[in-house]
């Protein structure tokens, strides 16, 4: 195909602003999918894949429009993975930016628009859902034009639901988005960007690629330049919307390569594929090793499920190279895994998939961030678990994020207050419209991992939208707070907090624990300490009575059953030294704020 007739684009939108519906309508209008085949949201294929028994994500669909080949590259549904979005955008020359006519620009829209601009993409701004009674297309168009630096009249107004204006979007894609540039010559050393991958249990890793230079043919030996992985292209092709094999995949085109690799970690997203026979000298820019920033311990509720959890994580990892996990043993929670995630949403999704798709009951510890620690020896150490934080150290650095928060102007005060509580550094403020304000802050990631989003929503009555990306590590005045139950330090309850908050957090946690720990045969001290200095202390008083008064001939069986129950209850307890602690107590730190609010 002539490069001039190819357009590669993404649709980016805030969640629920109509990305999937627009994609469906495009497939329908271009007759890629017949009306009979048409099902709502063809591109969101997780369900569909399961029905068909295959595990291929249709991440890039080829459609034909007025003699042009348009490749729609889907960004992950969970768009706050900035990295995942950005690598999808790298495969495109343009993006359709969709905004809900009733909602206007949201924080995610801003973040994604900036990403698109950073990637030099041509943006086609679209206001969707103009059919809604509460729609205000003019206001939304004005905000959108302001955001992308265009004119309100260039903003397309459509209803993906009714189909109104969708043809105009396709025309605008052809007119406004530039065709791909690259070395078309068959002799050119081929280079393709891997922008996503998937795992099929029969065919191995399937790479989703954007050919930049040259061409790949089926059967050709290929190499991933950053990782050095070698394999043979068992098949190449494109999605329309199901997989269609092709003889070659040429410059500018988007499609897939079946690699036969059995392990997704051997082919990282962002890597460049080239030919073994005619290798390129330089990889494409854009590869960066994704680093998980948020960590949490995942433990099976029932320790017998440990092998199932391990298998489930292995299988998730096949499709999710960003997921990190390593075995963790907690004296309190037993065997589990310390998992690393790109962000909070990633953590939520992994947890949900483990519970839903793999039917596991999980105990997830309070999330923490990655810390960089300068040890006395002068070595920098990365710490993923508060319990591993050395007590003797010279400096600690913690990750910061650039956060954008968009709120109606009346809520600016409460949001600023929240951000100040969370050690936020104000960067700037912008009026998107007379009513809506963008607040830009730098916040320690640690301050948002626990309940920031909930707090933000509750302080703005649900109106705030929020997005962030990681800005880097900064030094912080941080302290490791240990919890001791009956003089024994409890690894799973250690936390790293800002020095100013150490006392109040320590106090809140020991108060919470006093309520969670049942009374024992003896007084149990629950203490929070920084190093050897105790900062808070509570006592679980010894119980003085635990016996049923009445027990005669007719009571014996019932009494014995009660005893069995009591024994079973004890077995569920975790032993910390001589103290029996219920599992729920280890999650106390998760609900600290609920507790202290009441």
């Amino acid at each position: 195909m002539d490069l001039e007739r190819i357009r590669n684009f993404s649709i980016i939108a805030h969640i629920d602003h109509g990305k999937s519906t627009l994609a469906d309508r495009i497939l329908e209008l271009t007759k890629t999918v017949s009306g009979r085949e048409m099902r709502a949201q063809v591109l969101d294929t997780m369900e569909l894949e399961r029905e068909r028994g295959i595990t291929i994500k249709a991440q890039a669909v080829r459609v034909n429009w007025k003699g042009n080949e348009l490749n729609l590259i889907d960004t992950p549904g969970h768009v706050d993975f900035t990295y995942e979005v950005s690598r999808s955008l790298q495969a495109c020359e343009g993006a359709v930016l969709v905004v809900d006519a009733a909602q206007g620009v949201e924080a995610q829209t801003v973040a994604n628009a900036y990403l698109a601009i950073e990637n030099n993409l041509e943006i086609v701004p679209v206001v969707n859902k103009i059919d809604l009674p509460q729609a205000d297309p003019d206001a939304a168009a004005a905000e959108l034009a302001e955001l992308v630096g265009g004119k309100p009249e260039d903003v397309l107004r459509i209803s993906a639901k009714t189909g109104e204006g969708v043809a105009d979007v396709l025309d605008a894609i052809v007119e406004r988005i530039p065709p791909p540039s690259g070395l078309v010559s068959a002799a050119a050393p081929p280079r393709a960007l891997v922008f996503d991958s998937s795992y099929d249990q029969y065919r191995g890793v399937v790479a989703f690629v954007r050919m930049v230079d040259g061409a790949f043919a089926a059967g050709e030996p290929l190499r991933a330049m950053a990782q050095g992985t070698r394999f043979e292209a068992e098949e190449v092709g494109f999605f329309s919307p199901t997989m269609k094999a092709a003889e070659t995949l040429g410059a500018g085109e988007v499609g897939y390569v079946i690699t036969g690799l059995k392990d997704v970690s051997r082919l990282r997203v962002g890597d460049t594929l080239t030919s073994e026979r005619n290798p390129a000298a330089e990889p494409l820019p854009g590869y960066k090793d994704v680093k998980p920033m948020v960590f949490a311990g995942l433990f099976p509720t029932d320790s017998d499920d440990y092998p199932d959890l391990r298998d489930a994580l292995e299988r998730l990892k096949l499709n999710d190279a960003a997921l990190f996990y390593e075995p963790e043993t907690s004296q309190a929670l037993g065997f589990g895994f310390r998992c690393g995630f790109l962000g909070l949403l990633h953590m939520e999704i992994v947890r949900e998939r483990l519970e839903r798709e793999f039917d596991l009951d999980l105990l997830v510890t309070a999330p923490n961030v990655a810390y960089r620690v300068l040890e006395r020896s002068g070595e920098w150490l990365e710490v993923h678990n508060p319990a591993e934080m050395p007590r003797e150290l010279d400096a600690v650095e913690e990750p910061y994020v650039r956060a954008s928060i968009i709120v109606p102007k009346d809520y600016v005060g409460p949001v600023m207050e929240l951000n100040n509580d969370r050690r936020g550094r104000f960067d700037h403020m912008e009026y998107l419209s007379p009513e809506r304000v963008l607040l830009a802050y730098e916040l320690p990631l640690a301050e948002i991992v626990l309940d920031y989003y909930d707090q933000l929503k509750s302080r703005t009555r649900g109106y705030a939208s929020f997005d962030y990306d990681v800005a880097g590590f900064r030094e912080g005045a941080l302290a490791r707070v240990d919890i001791l139950i009956g003089e024994e330090p409890v690894d799973a309850l250690s936390m790293i907090v800002h020095r100013d908050a150490a006392y109040s957090r320590g106090k809140a946690l020991v108060e919470r624990l006093r309520k969670e720990i049942p009374r024992q045969y003896f007084d149990v001290a629950v203490q929070a300490a920084i190093g050897s200095r105790v900062i808070a202390r509570e006592t679980v008083k010894a119980k003085r009575k635990d016996v049923l008064a009445k027990c005669y001939g007719g009571d014996i069986s019932r009494k014995r059953k009660l005893l069995e129950k009591q024994k079973a209850g004890k077995r569920r307890m975790k032993q910390v030294g001589a103290v029996e602690v219920p599992q729920e107590a280890f999650l106390a730190v998760l609900n600290l704020n609920d507790g202290s609010k009441k």
Partner: protein, 414 residues
């Protein structure tokens, strides 16, 4: 006392699905082996379910009124006795009539029953104070009853009102007096604590009043409000408050009664410890020592040679079966050795007498025992004669351990 404890829920399950119900075994059960069983049963419980009315907190198998059925029920009991007679030893140690309100039974029928029951060294009848007239005391006395357990519960009129009890404090005093006049020298009083509205001072006053009557024996129970009952619903908040006060009440009971010279011989039972008489309830000791017992009547429980059964709690089917010369339907439970050992520990540790260790050692977690000994809750003690002091052969709980008996038992058996 009463081998009948059907909560409302269990009763319904019994009626609807009859889980585990079997037609009664045609032959007497055989011993399962292992733990020694008594060759013949020496303890007999007889359930008399009739009451004038039902008290709000009660969860026993009771039948209100039905005076017309008392004669038929006694016929049933005697027929059942005949069917099970071969299980019984020629001489019984104890007979216990529980209820219900045994003394609410028509006097003629009560007398007919007492006369027909086998003789025993200890014959106890439960009574509500207001039923104990001089005539009733005489009736009991002439029918070989030598121990009466009087359900006093409290001496505070308002608290008795909360419990729906008919008797007032004066009825209790009069009842004791009538029994004394008839020659009874073994009287037990029941007290309940944790009653909605009760204050610690009320409990101390109750104990003081009870001690004033110089009973040979006292049973003190916490009020057990069963979830889902009307009583629990009506007093929910106050019951929660009482539950928090319960440990204080229990300590108060134990301290006051020990101070008054009573022996705390079982978790909730106390007897006078003067004059060289053993005033413990021999019948109830049999339960706590794991002896076999036979129960007659609706809802009654028997434990014989490794089997435990509970007779149907429904009056109609019970009587119908016995009229036809059949055993009434029963819910049967087999008690393997491990269960019997656990029960021995669970029940034996309620007593102040040492539990011989060898018989239960297989079920006791040695590590837990060592820990409980270190905590001063349990101790190994010598059985006496010729035993090497290094390996004491019996187990007992310290007073503090007895207050925590359920938790300690759960630890020991874990």
């Amino acid at each position: 006392m009463r081998p009948t404890a059907f909560g409302g829920k269990q009763l319904r399950a019994f009626d609807r699905s009859w889980p585990g119900l079997t037609a009664a075994p045609a032959k007497p059960p055989r011993p399962l082996g292992g733990i020694a069983s008594d060759a013949l049963v020496r303890h007999l419980y007889v359930h008399l379910p009739f009451c004038a009315h039902r008290c709000g907190y009660c969860d026993f198998v009771t039948v209100v009124g039905r005076r017309g059925q008392h004669a038929g029920y006694v016929d049933g009991l005697l027929a059942e006795l005949e069917l099970e007679r071969e299980l019984l030893a020629p001489e019984l140690e104890t007979v216990f009539l529980g209820g219900g309100t045994p003394t609410f039974t028509e006097p003629r029928e009560l007398e007919r029953l007492l006369a027909a029951l086998p003789a025993a060294a200890e014959v106890t009848v439960e009574a509500n104070p207001e039923t104990v007239t001089p005539a009733l005391a005489e009736l009991l006395r002439r029918n070989r009853v030598n121990r009466v357990s009087l359900g006093a519960q409290s001496f505070q009129p308002e608290l008795l009102g909360v419990l729906d009890r008919v008797a007032g404090p004066d009825d209790v005093r009069a009842g004791v007096e009538n029994l004394r006049d008839a020659g009874f020298d073994n009287i037990s009083l029941d007290l309940i604590y944790g009653i909605p509205g009760q204050r610690p001072s009320d409990l101390a006053a109750d104990i003081g009043e009870a001690l004033g009557l110089r009973p040979e024996h006292l049973s003190c129970y916490e009020l057990e409000a069963k979830p889902g009952t009307r009583f629990t619903h009506a007093h929910g908040e106050e019951l929660r408050r009482q539950a928090e006060a319960m440990e204080g009440y229990f300590e108060c009971v134990v301290e006051m009664l020990i101070g008054a010279g009573y022996r705390w011989y079982e978790t909730a039972n106390f007897c006078r410890a003067v004059g060289g008489r053993d005033l413990r309830s021999r019948h109830n000791l049999a339960y706590w020592r794991g002896r076999d017992y036979l129960g007659l009547g609706i809802g009654a429980v028997s434990t014989v040679r490794g089997q435990r059964w509970r007779t149907t709690p429904r009056l109609g089917p019970y009587l119908a079966a016995l009229r036809e010369g059949r055993r009434p339907l029963r819910e049967l439970e087999l008690l393997p050795d491990s269960v019997r050992r656990e029960e021995r520990v669970m029940l034996g540790l309620r007593l102040d007498e040492p539990l011989p260790f060898a018989a239960v050692a297989a079920s006791v977690d040695a590590e837990a025992l060592a820990r409980l000994e270190r905590l001063g809750l349990a101790q190994r003690v010598s059985l006496g004669e010729g035993e090497p002091p290094a390996a004491p052969g019996a187990l007992t709980l310290t007073p503090q351990g007895r207050l925590l008996g359920d938790a300690v038992t759960a630890d020991l058996l874990a």
